[in-house]
């Protein structure tokens, strides 16, 4: 008996035999490609995912559980209190006032920051001398740590020894209590807008992405600078501005460090933040670390989270028809492309 006979009819056709055997090279090839892709997914996504689960999902879940208790983190008699912390959030006039102040602060600072950043980006996109130096200088405040900026502002605006009142003094004008109400809010807004370098850099990148031919063509057609800016530049820049609007809203609703501009950043010091600057994160910090009300503070955080989500959703809805994409996001969304797609 020949070996061929022993092996059966397929053995005479190596190709067919290879296809028939599950572990053969030929049959593995398509799976191998898929396995490689899957492997790449796990390798790249794995560390982030583990971090996300351990550092975000777990703490969030823990905070959610805490929000249904009266825990202070240390006492032995903490107990489940149901929704009472959430009820308190929505009935406590101080919390509601701080939420209101947070909303007002966001409504004022976000448009101002984006407008200031855009204005600077437009100016620094002009062909001027030492443009790089100016760009660096304007961006510099954005890289100063928030605590550093707050300290500098504290020194500038101190009533008795600050340079702002020193300047007024030169003109014989009475000094103001900048870091107390009613001026503290405006100093905080100035501090926030002062850090508009990030917006400027992203807007500048967006401006440089606008094809020069479009602007040249408009100019040749007799469009003024303003017409070109409002009809070409702004629409093409709108996805960039929208991205910044969303990220700025989320960041501003969670503002914390700049609020410590006039106080000692400790549990007892935070209580001395002027009333107009007592935004929701000050309330959260005070409840956690001064009052030791872990349960209530966790409920506050979850309410803030829901508030941020709701605001973001509303802004997304309102943006339809205002933001112009050169590629329709709906189409690209339905057909994802991954590595290896042909």
């Amino acid at each position: 008996m020949s070996t061929d006979q022993l092996a059966g009819p397929d053995a005479r056709s190596p190709m067919r035999a290879a296809l028939a055997r599950p572990g053969s090279r030929r049959s593995r090839r398509p799976r191998s490609l898929r396995a490689r892709r899957t492997g790449a997914f796990y390798v790249f996504a794995g560390p982030w995912l583990l971090g996300f689960l351990a550092m975000t999902v777990f703490p969030l879940g823990y905070a959610l559980w805490l929000s249904f208790t009266n825990s202070d983190g240390l006492s032995p008699n903490a107990r489940f209190v149901g929704l009472s912390n959430y009820r308190e959030v929505f009935t406590d006039p101080e919390t509601l006032a701080s939420l209101g102040r947070t909303g007002l602060f966001t409504v004022i600072t976000v448009p101002l920051t984006i407008a200031a950043g855009l204005l600077l980006a437009v100016l620094l996109n002009q062909p001027i001398r030492a443009r790089g130096v100016f760009r660096t200088l304007v961006y510099l405040p954005a890289v100063v740590p928030p605590v550093g900026s707050a300290l500098v502002f504290k020194l500038i605006f101190d009533r008795d020894s600050g340079s702002a009142n020193g300047l007024l003094d030169l003109f014989g004008v009475n000094g103001l209590s900048w870091l107390a109400d009613p001026y503290a809010r405006w100093v905080l807004i100035t501090l926030t807008v002062w850090g508009c370098g990030n917006v400027m850099i992203i807007s500048l990148a967006g401006l440089q992405d606008i094809p020069a031919e479009l602007l040249d063509a408009a100019r040749m057609d007799g469009a003024s600078w303003w017409q070109s800016f409002t009809r070409i530049t702004l629409p093409l820049l709108s996805p960039v501005l929208f991205f910044q609007l969303i990220t700025q809203i989320i960041a501003t609703l969670q503002s914390f460090l700049p609020l410590l501009i006039s106080v000692d950043p400790t549990p007892k010091g935070v209580g001395a933040v002027p009333e107009s600057n007592q935004l929701i994160m000050i309330d959260v910090f005070t409840q956690y670390f001064s009052n030791g009300r872990y349960g209530y503070a966790s409920a506050l955080l979850w309410v803030l989270f829901a508030f941020v989500m709701a605001v973001t959703f509303v802004v997304f809805k309102l943006s339809r028809g205002v933001v112009f994409y050169s590629v329709d996001p709906e189409q690209t969304q339905n057909k994802p492309r991954t590595i290896g797609d042909s």
């Binding site: 396995a35 202070d72 240390l74 032995p76 001395a272 009052n291």
Partner: protein, 450 residues
């Protein structure tokens, strides 16, 4: 032909496994904490974990050499401490403020009773402990601070309601210097502040008086109430009463001080956060700080030459001069290396380091035997030493409530007082608001402590 089972992990399984791994990873430190590591391998050095302000590398190396142990210094952070305590994995030694930390932590059963260690020690004998160490005592039966087991020890202390003043500014204003022996009344003190203040175009160029810690007016009001013969806290420490005649008088004094705008207050905080920079810059005539402040003044010969120390002013006839600090160390109940922690205590509080500390003037030594080492070599040091010695008999522990952290109560004051000062609200109405808000806090705390 049967399809071979998929050998590779699909995404859904991966996500499930990752979640499991993450939760396991998060739980691991908790499990690890329940395993007593002891002193490590035989012959290996012990490691003591201390939560403290940052140490310089050379200080740490020197301490390790002298103690024959490894030190793991964890920078003090109250949130981290709470997390470690809650996870039953606390440091072995924790820095703390005796006057305000002890009731809160001891009532929650988080501090180790050190009485047996003190009883056995040849270095830290109870008979040698200064009275200020009583701020580290807490009686869990009566829930009172100042008596009961010792839960820690002060490295040094001050009677925090005394004050320093600038003789040059008094002379320039044509004012008589305060007595070294007789305390001023609080009204006289405020009046002096008003006379010493210098203003220009709405700004205070020279503060007449800096009274009490700006972000912690509670202790100022507690002290003045006690001086007037009352007590801010009720007997069981579960409520406050700002409406009592004594407390109301103290509150009124603070409101008058803040309204007078003669120094940093809750309405106009000092940007430096403490008095020294302003005092040194010739912009403060009187600073309400204890003996420790002399450590900074003593470092500047020019300022020392024109500075003097004075007894704590009194609001009433009951002379009290409390300590609201007593910074030192304590050992958590769940600490794994208590014996090693005590070795550190003896080295830090009773060894050469303590002797050196006593000579600096940065506080009154917490051991009576070290008091003669306090600096007395210059006229400045001699005057402050003598005033301090005369003040010691008036030391008292003013207990704070175990049902809330003092910071939490101060936050209520710093929220309520600025508006009240600006609007000119009557002290009685402010007292009612403070009673309501603070008593709510204390009630919540009492429910938790049981």
């Amino acid at each position: 032909m049967p399809v071979a089972p998929r050998s590779s992990l699909d995404r859904r399984r991966f996500l499930t496994a990752s979640a499991g791994a993450a939760f396991t990873a998060a739980a691991l430190p908790g499990c690890a904490s329940s395993v007593d590591s002891g002193g490590g391998a035989k012959g290996a050095k012990e490691t003591l974990t201390i939560m403290d302000v940052a140490w310089e590398k050379k200080d740490k190396q020197k301490a390790e050499q002298e103690l024959g142990m490894n030190l793991n210094i964890v920078t003090y952070d109250v949130t981290k401490l709470n997390a470690m305590l809650a996870g039953n994995n606390p440091p072995d030694v924790v820095r703390g403020i005796g006057a305000t930390d002890v009731p809160y932590f001891a009532a929650r059963g988080l501090m180790a009773d050190l009485d047996t260690y003190f009883a056995k020690s040849d270095v830290l004998k109870p008979s040698d402990l200064a009275a200020a160490n009583d701020v580290w005592r807490y009686d869990s039966e009566t829930r009172k601070q100042g008596t009961g087991p010792r839960y820690g020890m002060a490295k040094d202390y001050s009677q925090d309601c005394m004050f320093w003043y600038r003789t040059d500014m008094f002379e320039a204003a044509g004012l008589e210097l305060p007595s070294d022996t007789e305390p001023l009344s609080c009204d006289e003190w405020l009046d002096l502040g008003k006379r010493l203040v210098k203003r220009r175009l709405g700004k205070v160029k020279v503060y007449g008086l800096s009274a009490g810690p700006v972000v912690a007016p509670l202790t100022t009001i507690m002290w003045m109430t006690a001086s007037a013969g009352g007590s801010l806290f009720a007997e069981d420490l579960a409520t406050v009463d700002f409406s009592s005649p004594e407390a109301l008088k103290a509150l009124q004094w603070y409101l008058d001080y803040a309204k007078a705008d003669i120094g940093p207050s809750v309405v106009n905080p000092n940007p430096d956060g403490w008095d020294w920079p302003t005092y040194q810059a010739n912009r403060m005539a009187m600073a309400n700080d204890g003996y420790w402040f002399g450590g900074t003044i003593g470092g500047d010969a020019k300022i020392a030459e024109v500075s003097r120390f004075a007894p704590a002013p009194q609001l009433g006839s009951n002379r009290v001069s409390p300590c609201f600090g007593g910074t030192g160390y304590w050992v958590p109940k769940g600490a794994k290396n208590k014996d090693t922690a005590w070795k550190y205590f003896e080295w830090y509080f009773g060894g050469k380091l303590a002797q050196d500390r006593a000579t600096t003037g940065w506080g009154i030594p917490s051991l009576k035997s070290l008091v003669p080492k306090m600096p007395q070599d210059t006229a400045f040091h001699k005057q402050s030493y003598e005033v301090q010695q005369r003040e010691l008999p008036h030391f008292s522990v003013l207990p704070v409530s175990p049902y809330a952290q003092v910071d939490a109560l101060n936050v209520v004051l710093t929220k309520v007082l600025p508006d009240a000062v600006k609007s000119g609200t009557a002290a009685g109405k402010i007292a009612d608001a403070l009673n309501s808000r603070i008593n709510d806090q204390l009630a919540r705390g009492k429910e938790l402590v049981g």
